[in-house]
Symmetry: C2
Subunit: 204 residues, 2 copies
DNA sequence: CTCCTCATATGATCATCATCATATGATCAC
DNA sequence: GTGATCATATGATGATGATCATATGAGGAG
């Protein structure tokens, strides 16, 4: 009975895909199981044939969204780290959360989530930062990874606040200010802590 | 009948104060009206004598929390902008969200909140950034305000991700990496956009 | 052709929660 | 002291939503 099983797997995949979009746009808690299934032309009942709980789905959806966003950023960063910043902190990214980075939408909910959810989030983030680090300037791989963590979390915050704000002019200023800051920072690699080393590498 | 009215005003104040703490620790949606009143030794019924809705309370509580945190940061920044960064991105701040900055906890919920809530948030944030800007290095007031926006949103993101993560070592790395990044940035003022001006001022 | 299996649907159930309607009981005016 | 007033309490109500129990119906096996 391969046909049936394939169909089920395909449904499962579609649920994750849809959840990955919905969660980024609305957050985990605001997306109901029934609503999610409804968007796929299904009903709520079948959900638990695929996932043990809503949180289990959330964990998979977050990982999927992070991986997708990571690919997107890696592609953008082929033009250099400045391009990466510009893509992340763009108005397009701010205004299309369902296609973008899941961090701003889900991080606050992960804080209060189950152990399982937090672990899935952590591992996905680790991979995200590690891959991004390869695109950053600097010689020391450890320092590049620190930079990646600071950059990701920092840009995530700017995007989040920019989305929360009422006034579009202020929202734009937040984005452009953050872009300027990170452009500066990436122009020279960051040493660990406050120890200032001899700066060396510059662009990719 | 002043005694009665004073009592009611005092109760109202206590509700806001308690909400400001609870919201920072758990987010708006996770804090129920009944639970909140219960923590004050009251019951849920009287709530609507003080506030027209839960969101109205949230708007006031967020503004109160932002103002409180602003005072705290201003005090810390008397030792210079680096101290401000160190206080915000400290483990203590990460581990005591109910006493700290409301941005990481509430921003994601504000994004999907009512117009009223978003507006209250925006105005409070504007004041927060403006006051902080006074403590930042640089000659141009406009540029200092840009820096304040980038700094606030960026640090908020680092704190948020640090709280979400499972692994305390990784959480600490996020904080220290962000500290290093912002120390660097504040060592020289940021120009607007990517236009590079002649850097001038340095520390406080 | 008939039965079985499994993916999905239908229809509870149970909990949580914001909100409102009404009751109570203390404080204040007279 | 006695009645009015208002802050707070008690007790619905209605909505939402996760989860589960059971039904259905289309494949595939014999």
């Amino acid at each position: 009975m391969p046909a049936k099983r394939e169909r089920a797997q395909e449904t499962r995949r579609r649920i994750i895909e849809q959840a990955a979009r919905a969660i980024r746009a609305e957050g985990i808690e605001r997306v109901g199981v029934g609503e999610l299934m409804g968007r796929l032309g299904l009903t709520h009942g079948g959900f638990y044939a695929h996932f043990s709980s809503k949180e289990a789905l959330a964990a998979e959806a977050i990982a999927a969204a992070l991986a997708e966003q990571c690919e997107h950023l890696l592609a953008a960063s082929e033009a250099g780290p400045a391009a990466l910043v510009d893509v992340y902190l763009s108005r397009a990214h701010r205004d299309q959360p369902e296609q973008g980075c899941p961090l701003p939408a889900v991080a606050p909910e992960v804080v209060h989530g189950s152990e399982q959810l937090r672990h899935a989030f952590t591992e996905a983030l680790r991979g995200y930062a590690a891959r991004l680090a390869g695109r950053l300037p600097g010689e020391d791989p450890a320092a590049r990874e620190e930079t990646a963590l600071a950059l990701l979390s920092g840009m995530c915050g700017a995007l989040l606040i920019s989305r929360a704000v009422d006034d579009s002019a202020l929202a734009d200023r937040i984005l452009s200010a953050a872009r300027a800051a990170w452009h500066r920072l990436l122009a020279q690699p960051i040493g660990v802590q406050s120890s200032t080393r001899t700066p060396s590498g510059s662009e990719t």
